[in-house]
Symmetry: C2
Subunit: 134 residues, 2 copies
């Protein structure tokens, strides 16, 4: 029997100098809120592949994956149920910034002028930006 474990997601901190990309969520939970781009990992792909795919789908950007920021596994971090997020730093490497898929909007924000964020994404961003860059 297949064991049941928490769902696995990736979140991506796309950084360029003092700015990071946030998307505006098209769907619940936190519909209309800003969030890091990210989403569920598919069976058969690595977490790095999932991060590149989700970044592309939600922001239009190709990204180069950098440092692992952390693993966020508080069972209450997603109101839909227990999901564990693997967060990466990344830098833009092509494409054009635009919302898509699960995002109505995607744009650069200065890291000192961030809107309220969905989930625990404020904490992920703080962890990502508090250490040396990738």
């Amino acid at each position: 029997m297949r064991p049941v474990t928490p769902l696995l997601v990736v979140d991506i901190v796309i950084r360029r100098g003092q700015e990071v990309v946030l998307i505006r969520r098209r769907n619940p939970p936190f519909r209309g809120s800003y969030a890091l781009p990210g989403g569920f990992v598919d069976v058969g792909e690595t977490v790095e592949q999932a991060a590149r795919r989700e970044a592309r789908e939600e922001t239009g950007l190709r990204v180069a994956i950098g440092r692992l920021v952390g693993v966020y596994s508080d069972p209450r971090r997603d109101p839909r149920g227990h999901s564990v997020a693997v967060a990466f730093l990344a830098r833009p490497a092509g494409g054009r910034l635009q919302g898509g898929d699960d995002a109505t909007e995607a744009r650069w924000f200065h890291h000192r002028r961030l809107p309220p964020l969905a989930f625990d994404h404020r904490r992920i961003l703080r962890d990502a930006l508090s250490r040396r860059a990738t």
Copy 2:
């Protein structure tokens, strides 16, 4: 509908000076091989809680969780199917070393005299021991 994502496991590198704890696997795959202690994350527990629980169940040791070593997500790393491992460094913090649960044996090995290891645990160990200690 609940999305389907890879299964989530934790692996723990319990370190004391130049030594690490390995267990001998009681069950397939890799039955009889040495491996890092670890196992599936339960819904409702954090990855750190899972790491402490699995270390305790498989080695008899209480452990203090240290640095995140990495996230290992190659779809072929487990022949049973796609599982993603979150690996932590840890140090012993009580208890008495003994096999249990899924391990027939648990013992300290010098990190330069390791037996062949199951899964990608050789790589995890190399990553864990190649950087500064926790």
